[in-house]
């Protein structure tokens, strides 16, 4: 079987790409996409750790998979709220560039 670090490295790479997208993109929708990528990276790690459990743990200990399911649920809620906020901002300020939305900055 493929060693566990391969999956961890893939998760790390996807997380860092998502982090860069979330920090550096101008478009608010792209920032949300970066956050979704980061959540996916976390899920890769959770499922990989579930698959490679410590010897002696019974196979039906499904905590890793169930945690991944909850992360997916939260990601869905987050996407719905985030996109609703972006649409509301677009309606009132006519932009989705996060640098133009700075009324709460001092």
């Amino acid at each position: 079987m493929i060693p566990l670090p391969y999956f961890l490295l893939l998760g790390a790479a996807v997380f860092c790409i998502g982090l860069f997208a979330a920090l550096a993109r101008r478009n608010a929708v792209a920032i949300l996409m970066g956050i979704e990528l980061m959540l996916n990276a976390v899920n890769i790690n959770l499922v990989a750790f579930w698959r490679y459990t410590k010897p002696g743990t019974p196979t039906w200990d499904l905590a890793g998979q169930i945690f991944a399911l909850f992360v997916i649920t939260l990601a869905a809620a987050e996407a719905a709220i985030g996109l609703a906020l972006i649409i509301a901002i677009y309606r009132s300020r006519d932009t989705v560039n996060v640098e133009d939305v700075d009324i709460m900055k001092w």
Partner: protein
């Protein structure tokens, strides 16, 4: 190396390449619509990785919720807010250098940790065990409280999204 193992490695690297190339396109491509399509590609790659890890249920949920729902939601949001990122502004803001440095630093740290740590792993064969009914049972016995909280959270998010996005 047996042929099965070689094929598993090939599948892993192909899926990892799909995921990472999709992610890089999301981070760097100029057209936001193309970024959303690349995001769908990355989600499909991750679903393949789940299949490789023998988590079939999570793979199916990934395709249904991420590719089916979240990506379509993002595409709708892009179409509703379109026609304003066409001006000649770079897709990255002025902090892109600091953000890139931070992401790279974190990646180096994570690689170091993943490679040098001794993980107490065991790889028991899952063959023949049907885990999907177990997931259902666990969700309504051991994890019933988080399950109910998640349902309330989804309801709240639904109502909140409607209230926020309504004119």
């Amino acid at each position: 190396m047996s042929i099965d193992l070689v094929l598993t490695y090939v599948a892993f690297f192909v899926l990892a390449a799909i995921t990472i190339i999709g992610g890089l396109l999301v981070a760097f491509v100029r057209n936001i619509m193309h970024a959303a399509l690349a995001l769908m590609m990355a989600f499909m790659g991750v679903a393949g990785i789940y299949l490789l890890l023998e988590a079939e249920f999570i793979a199916a949920v990934q395709v249904l919720i991420y590719v089916g729902a979240i990506a379509v939601l993002i595409l709708f949001a892009i179409m509703l807010t379109r026609g304003l990122m066409t001006r000649t502004l770079p897709p990255e803001n002025n902090q892109w250098l600091a953000a890139g440095g931070l992401a790279l630093l974190l990646f180096v740290a994570l690689v170091y940790i993943a490679v040098t740590t001794h993980w107490p792993v065991g790889t028991q064969a899952l063959a023949g065990t049907d885990l999907i009914p177990k997931i259902g049972t666990e969700l309504v016995t051991t994890y019933v409280l988080p399950f109910e909280v998640a349902s309330i959270l989804l309801l709240t998010a639904l109502i909140g999204a409607i209230v926020i996005a309504r004119e």
